[in-house]
Amino acid sequence: MADFTMEKGADGVAVITWDLPGKSMNVLTMQGAQELSDLIDDALADDAVKGVVITSGKDTMAGGMDLNVLQGMKQQGAEGVFEGVMTLHHLLRKIERAGMDPKTNKGGKPIAAAVPGTAMGIGLELPLACHRIFVADNPKAKLGLPEIQVGIFPGAGGTTRLVRKLGVMMAAPFLLQAKMSDPTAAKKAGIVDEVLADPVAAAKEWVLSGPAIVKPWDEKGYKMPGGAPYHPAGFQTFVGANAMINAETWGAFPAAKALLSAVYEGAQVPFDTALKIEARWFTSVIMNPSSGAMIRSLFLNKEALEKGANRPEAPDQRVKKLGVMGAGMMGAGIALVSAQAGMEVVLIDQKQEAADKGKAYTESYFDKGIKRGKATEEKKAEVLGRITATTDYDALKGCDLIIEAVFEDPGVKAEVTKNVEAVVGEDCIYASNTSTLPISDLAKASKRPEQFIGIHFFSPVEKMLLVEIIKGKETGSRAVAKALDYVRQIRKTPIVVNDARFFYANRCIIPYINEGVRMVGEGVEPALVDNAARMLGFPVGPLQLNDETSIDLGVKIAKATKAALGNAYDGGAADDVLFWLYDAGRLGRKSNAGYYDYDEKGKRLGIFEGIREKFGTRDTEQPEVDEVQDRLMFSQVLEAVRALEEGVLEDIREGDVGAILGWGFAPWSGGPFSWLDIIGADEAVKRCDRLTEKFGARFEAPKLLREMAEKGQTFYGRFGEQAKAA
């Protein structure tokens, strides 16, 4: 069965239909590209064919390139990638030129794209090479070029064509921010030409109307909208574009840089040369280990985890009725996302007004959405209708999953567990959303510890993409399947870890914050600490993060850790800072004062000058930014390695995906394990040794890492089998 088929109509229109057998959405394979090329040759050579319409046999156009194709090209090195990409350019350019005379632009056959729905990546780049784009009037369809999100950029002419079509300024949001548009917005932006009910019929009519088909950039005297780099206006645009890419990405994303180079260099030469340049920069991005790591973690493995890569065998565990215990911020958020996913939700708190307040969170969430035109009153009423806010435990009858999100106190939690189990059915799975208490300990309060599990959400629930599922000592496989099926229902990404202090995410985040705070205590300029983190690609620096998570929580964790570790505890300069801020009542954003100053409205102003005075920042010789970055990186990645070594983490894919989605770990690196693979275990151990000598034992390379360095292993080489198995 072919990916592309052609039907030549009696009216002289050849309709080429893209319809990948056995898949719900089209992706382009090299075989498909060859088929399409052959069909275009056929249509152009056939005198009976007056024009061509390219469409899809599905309700969408295509999801993009088959990423395995890229991986395949990569096996053959830069030359393989470059030649593979050039093959695509030749195909699309053949469509665009459609048999026209290269000198006079005479002749040629009109080729239109009829796009039935969502068109992403090559799914949009193919239409962009056609002479006119007709899109079905389907507001749910998404059109765009999402490549930059996985560390590459549109490399099948999308970059070059969109820039020549719209100019650098107008094309920038689509290329650099992967902005998605519905068909109407795409038309308004000038990306597509017509939005109507029946794109195939309209496209057929158009190709038969004898239209002009020469692309502006193939006409003599073409000028790029907004100006090429050495046009006065264009110069300013390019100065600004460079600055903005640096400013917005903190210099941390190679793909954005390569994209802009392709645009800059391509803008100065004829179109075909520009495509070649685009292919060269695209190849450089594919060959950069960052893109491979990003694709692996953010695309392939994220999807694999969402589809249940680590789900134990068990019947369908999808949740029908959910009980949420505690209507505070977390409970309210959990109720919202669950009701949105179609579940019946019982939201319980001790007082009715507290329960109502939790439900009101969903209401205000939708009100905001309605204001922005992203939600409707009907949808709001429907979702609110699924939430019952009450104090009455009897309402929990029939629940198949309970998520407890009450105060972080073992006694309170045990009480809730007992009371819930008294009313729910024997099959009900019970989950705690604790972030600090061991699941195995909490499970002691349960009659059915094998049905007791941790489902750890991140705040704010409706925004954060990761959910950490924690297996207690006695947690059974049905509970794990239940949690995974639930997370899939609410369309988040799960990782499954074993029970240990702070589980996985917090285990890594806490040392990251602590290392930053410790540096402040040593007299390192606070701005340097947070900026160094941002330059690594973290969304917030450790100090700002601590202001968000609050200083008192930091103090609490420090005290608890000290109690747990005894003499082994190394609080150091970090505790000096934490306790000093705490004593000064600077508890972070919630008190409008922390490492940073805030105005009355909570807007962050700048570093609190008192910190510099207290810790002698101005009199301290400042470290190189590389050293600050290494301290921040290794404080986290070594925890990740230890978590793997200790069996808390069972799958490095979860370690990588969880780190990026959970706390924004340098996305360009693909996650902690990918980052260690990029720098190499040997180099990592060397840096650990240096850091240990200078800053202490917390940087000692774990045994596993040392062993891997000796054997010349990588994490994905050594643990990849298990990753592949799923």
Partner: protein
């Protein structure tokens, strides 16, 4: 190796670099030609006497393009056998022309040279020649390009130079320039710019604002704050190179930065034999020259390492220098220089500088060498050092001593 001497130096007055500036009607070729002819006339050498004309210009496009040096030679009274070499080291082009000429003479490649430069900023605006450094992502992104004004503000932030200090320095420049003109200190070098008929067009530095005071400067808004903090956000780019700076302190404005002007200058350089042949008396020896590259983001700190290098090469110390000319591109550039070497202000830019009189990019390096020489003679001092900051992170310096 023979010594290289300065036999003479001339400069044009500086006209406001705007369409209503007095020199706006004059071409780059004409202005340059008048400097070359003035040297020839004043010193009485023949048209074929020099080996080459090395001509600095920072914006080699339009009338300043196409090897302006050669074009200017052809327009002048020099003989066509003198070739002409256009060079560009941005703001130090005029100085680099002098240094190159001096080193050619020292190396024995010719006996006499004319070196200098021109910049008609009102006619060929800055940036007219394009600049990959600002737009080519392989450089602009990886080397954190920011415009010079941002760089000057980074210097102020990094080295703790305040707005008041910068403004006070600007007032000083204006007052000293006014005094210098009042006392006729520039007379020796100034060549009145004339039209085709010999009618005078401009005979004084028209950019000076002698009435400038702290209050007037205090009212000016910082020039680079918006592009730094808002669009396109250059401060965030600067932060990638200087992550320990929480915020850039924007202190510079039109009043404490160099003025945009039209102007030209030329210096006659030669060996001992050159002077003997044409009966000229050397005014100074070019003792040492230097050029350096430094961080392109902060960009304008070059005078410090350039001075360190030239002092090292010459086996001298900062205390051996009697007078300094540090080009006043921005107040912070000079104040940082003063801070780094703890220079006595009585020795530095004693006749004002580019803040008061303007900075015709390609000419300034030759201008300040001439000004330094005139002042050494006037105040009867021996050794002077001139230095400039240079775009894209460079610096240049020259040490001269009277003979």
């Amino acid at each position: 190796m023979s010594d290289a001497y300065i036999y003479d130096a001339v400069r044009s007055p500086r006209g406001k670099g705007r369409p209503d500036g007095s020199l706006h009607e004059v071409t780059a070729v004409s202005l340059g030609k008048q400097m070359l002819n003035a040297l020839k006339d004043r010193n009485g050498f023949e048209g074929h006497a020099v080996e080459d004309v090395i001509w600095g210009n920072a914006t080699q496009a339009m009338e300043q393009g196409g090897c302006l040096a050669r074009t200017t030679v052809l327009a002048s009274d020099l003989h066509e056998s003198i070739p002409g070499l256009s060079i560009n080291r941005f703001c130090a082009s005029g100085m680099e022309a002098v240094n190159l000429a001096a080193n050619q003479v020292k190396g024995g490649a010719g006996e006499g040279y004319i070196a200098g430069g021109v910049e008609m900023m009102s006619r060929v605006p800055m940036g007219s020649d394009g600049a990959a450094v600002a737009v080519d992502p392989t450089v602009a992104l990886d080397r954190y390009f920011v415009p010079q004004g941002i760089s000057a503000d980074i210097i102020a932030t990094e080295y703790g130079i305040t707005r008041d200090e910068a403004d006070a320095f600007a007032v000083r420049s204006q007052q000293l320039a006014k005094k210098a003109w009042d006392e006729g200190r520039f007379e020796k070098s100034i060549v009145t710019v004339r039209d085709v008929n010999g009618l005078p067009i401009l005979s004084y530095d028209e950019f000076i604002r002698p009435g400038t005071d702290m209050q007037a400067l205090g009212a000016l808004k910082p020039s680079f704050k918006d592009m730094g903090e808002v669009m396109p956000g250059f401060d965030k780019v600067a932060r990638l190179k200087y992550p320990h700076l929480e915020k850039i302190n924007h202190i510079h404005h039109a009043g404490n930065s160099s003025g945009i002007v039209d102007g030209s200058a030329a210096v006659l350089i030669g060996s001992k034999e050159f002077g003997e042949k044409w009966g000229l008396k050397p005014r100074a020896r070019i003792r040492a020259t230097a050029k350096i590259g430094t961080d392109p983001t902060i960009m304008l700190t070059g005078p410090v390492p350039a001075t360190q290098k030239i002092l090292g090469d010459a086996g001298m110390g900062i205390q051996d220098i009697d007078l300094f000319e540090v080009n006043e591109a921005f107040s912070s550039v000079v104040l940082r220089f003063v801070q780094a070497f703890d220079v006595d202000m009585d020795k530095l830019n004693v006749n004002g500088g580019a803040i008061a009189m303007g900075h015709p990019l390609g000419a300034s390096g030759a201008i300040i060498i001439g000004t330094l020489l005139d002042e050494l003679e006037r105040s009867d001092k021996e050794v002077g050092l001139a230095t400039l900051c240079v775009a894209s992170g460079m610096g240049a310096a020259t040490i001269i001593e009277r003979v």
